[in-house]
Amino acid sequence: MRHWIEKQRYIIDFTLSSLLRRKVKNIGLLALYTLIVFILASTMFFTYSIKKEASLILKDSPEIVVQKIVAGRHDLFPVNYIDTIKKIRGVASVESRLWGYYYDSLVGANYTLLTPPRNGSFTDTGKSTAKTTVVDSESTDNAKPLFELNGAVLEPGTLIIGNGIARLRAIGTGDYMPFLAFDGNVLNFKIAGVLSSQSELVSSDLMLINEEDFRKLFGIDNSYVTDVTVAVNNPGEIAMVASKIKKRLPQARPIIRDEILRTYDSIFNWRGGMMIVIFSAAVLAFVIFAWDKASGLSAGERREIGILKAVGWETSDVIQMKFWEGAIISLTAFFTGVILAYIHVFFTGSIVFEPALKGWSSLYPNFKLTPFINLEQLTTLFFLTVVPYTVATIVPIWRAATIDPDSAMRFTGE
């Protein structure tokens, strides 16, 4: 065993010196290899961490969201349906939600307007832990305290806007923002507060507005809401309650929370896989390049192997040498690629991908992703980059290793 280790060390000695001798040829291969690993690693890190973040953030989204569908298209949810849902056993509480979009032609961006629950209050974690007050929907009188966000109370005629909008329109608390109402006249709203920049991933285009203002802006009368969220006593019962709602209200479309999570999971799987499928053409080109480089031995290399074999190296020793050569190049490319990708995705917020991901949206949340890498991603990366490279070079390596020992004898000219 001792001899075997010592032999391997000798072979690595020789391989390293031969690699350093032919720098130019290997640098080109290494650069391309690192680029391939870098792009694949960035894709995977990005999709995995955003998927993990989505599942962490959305775990508290409403258990069941019920919408009304008319002729296959979304329709406003009549308030009197709420009582039928309340009668279903297992339903803890039913709350209505009023939300919609407002297209701001000035900057070509869509805002999501949302009426927060009556007396919930929320403070940034920066200052103190988030207080979430339980809202009892029975008390309908509007004397209740309004929604307030770290001190800024949402009175009628004011707005709380997401950080993205503030950045896009360069406005802040205290400024005014005109809105074109459904009936043509202009409503002016004062900005009461701005949501924290930390939560941009969920709230960058969000606008919190009072219920009366929302109805005034969009002309929705009191007997309708956009949709309804249902809280269930026993989480195991969610699917059962949803099926009951479906039976009682045939036009309703109940959406369960873990379906939302599963959808996001499959979106990002699809997105990651799609990038890799597109990118596999580049990997294939690289594999062919590596195969060609490995089989196109220069006269010098051929002579060198001839000398090695003449002097006493056996075919399997030369194969081991070439294996170590491949291993050194692959490890260098793998380490550099992964480290660069990590810095690229988690420190610089994947600048390279930004144009592709942003598309045409003029209001894109700038969010910092929490780094999340595990062994599985690194193994997958290893399989998608190092394995094809190694397999592509097996036959050329074997062909190079079977050069006849007496070729060194025949070699006469200098």
Partner: protein, 223 residues
Amino acid sequence: MIELVNVKKVFNAGNPSEFSALNSVSLLIEENQVTVLKGPSGSGKTTLLSIVGCMSRPSAGRVKLQGREITSLPERFLTDIRRKTFGFIFQQPNLIKGISVLDNVMLPAYPLGEKRVHLKNKAMKGLAALNIANKAASKVEWLSGGEAQRASIVRALINDPYIIIADEPTAHLDTKLSYRFMEIIETFKAEGKTVIITSHDPLVYESSMVDRVVNLRDGQIEV
């Protein structure tokens, strides 16, 4: 010591460019003797040498080394025998550029996995014996013709083989260096090694210490 029994070597058999380098050569090489294979180029000298030196296998016939049949050994065993038994000195020094003379000399022993310290001492002793120890760390490109030849001789001796094979050793040396080379061969013979040289340089095959001269023509031995 080495016995060849009607050895044949045919290249790319079966297609029009078939060419038989050796046809039924039988040869016996005694122990501790200096044998010179003489013959014009293209007479199969180098092929015969590569078969004797276990570098390639004959198409037909038998090769015995110290009485042991080695014709149909797998390459792994053939190389192992070659590493331990034969020392090769080629027409060209065939040193690998870019690595130091010391590494070049130690190269044949890499697959044996000897401890590096012992190997280095052995190599330094060999270089000192042919007084090129001062060039140990210098690059191969900076050596003169004679120094390169001597380095390749030290490399051939690194595994202290008891048969030395030299293919046209004096082809690129001037007379002074050729004499020096013959003196080195003298020391091998004194140490009990067997030496096989191919050459058409009269200085070699007429030298006093050559025990036997074999003439080779068109793949056959002239009696």
